[in-house]
Symmetry: C2
Subunit: 234 residues, 2 copies
């Protein structure tokens, strides 16, 4: 059904019909840059569409008009609707600060990494809330509506949380009776976009409050009563 990114391009018939292959070497400098610009303009347009009307279906027509390109251009660049949203996900993954979050949990003190990871996570979720909501919901309703980006993104988070859980276990921070596996499950829950959005959108709480609530909840659910009076300094 879908051949993403595989846009068949046939040699123009007005070229040499004798079967001679194109032998000229081309170093695209300006053209590649222009192509990247239109690509970016389209991605920004989708982003803008999702922000302006979060609970409406985004049509290719609106995106094209907002990006000031033709509708067919979107298809030549991204292949399909799914390819477009897949690229949007990849774009968020690189530019949205997802990598910072990974770094936050990797600091030596695992318990501190828990709090910093959650707050960093929440900050990132809050910055792109509407877009992420659309991406995640689309992924739930239609498996390949957004390509594999959401899956990849969540796989990374799962691995990171399992790592953190193990380090919490190794450092003796987990409360009695809680295995590293269960700790991973709970971290998976507390660092999820859904957990953030349930509190942020569902209860109209500002991002900072959500971060504090989630961090406290996670710490109490996971860790033994703290030896040091508090973790953030109060």
């Amino acid at each position: 059904m879908n051949m993403l990114y595989l846009v068949g391009r046939i040699v123009k018939p007005n070229a040499r019909l004798t079967g001679m292959p194109p032998t000229r070497k081309y170093e695209q400098r300006l053209r590649a840059k222009a192509a990247d610009q239109t690509r970016r303009r389209i991605l920004d347009a989708v982003y803008q569409c999702l922000i302006e009307a979060p609970s409406e279906q985004v049509g290719m027509d609106k995106v094209a008009k907002l990006a000031e390109v033709s509708r067919s251009t979107i298809y030549t660049v991204f292949g399909s609707r799914a390819g477009l949203f897949d690229a949007l996900g990849m774009d968020l993954l690189h530019r949205g600060g997802f990598t910072d979050m990974v770094g936050a949990v990797l600091q030596p003190d695992a318990r501190r990494g828990l709090r910093d990871g959650i707050t960093g996570n929440v900050r990132m979720y809050a910055a792109h809330r509407d877009v992420l909501r659309a991406l995640f919901s689309m992924a739930h309703l239609d498996a390949d509506a957004v390509g594999g980006t959401v899956r990849r993104l969540e796989d990374g988070r799962a691995q990171g949380m399992d790592d953190l859980a193990r380090r919490l276990h190794d450092q003796g921070a987990l409360r009695d009776g809680l295995t590293a596996g269960d700790a991973g499950h709970l971290l998976w829950l507390h660092t999820s976009f859904d957990a953030f959005d349930l509190l942020h959108s569902g209860r109209s709480l500002p991002a900072d409050t959500v971060a504090a609530l989630l961090a406290d909840a996670a710490e109490h659910a996971l860790c033994r009563p703290s030896d040091t009076p508090s973790s953030t300094g109060g």
Copy 2:
């Protein structure tokens, strides 16, 4: 845009054109029963469609074929696609055991109500996982794609959790420094479908394990260290 359940029905032109109103009394016995049966067959078909292909878009055509009715019949009965899914939500609300869950949290011991409420909740979520996933995701993507059922359902849960939070506070069960408001927020999170599904589908955990994990997490996040050694008996 939508006039759900309001299907305009015009008198056929071959009836008396002299303006005489229909005076015959009609007691529909067989026909009304048959109509209810087709209505139910359609609802069951949607349910079945969502179960068989959870991550595919459900088309009216598939539903009609599965219910062995014509596609137009769905429109005469439910008015629109949104009306159909709205009715499905209402059907789940009445037949899915949502009311049992409300009763569970209303028992005298609030702390026991927390655990029983969560386990009952999880059991219900697990029984209808695929259908609920579709309903919730659709509600997120398109505001009025499922009518107001999801909104009403969640409003009820919010109220119930705030009540429970206040009773936990009044019974002195909350840990120091946690307000009844914050407790309500956390209960809202721990009794959500998303929290269940993150663990059940996202981590491949059976429903019982999810219930135990969520109940323990909620108890540790909300309550003071238990005076009685344990709540469930372990």
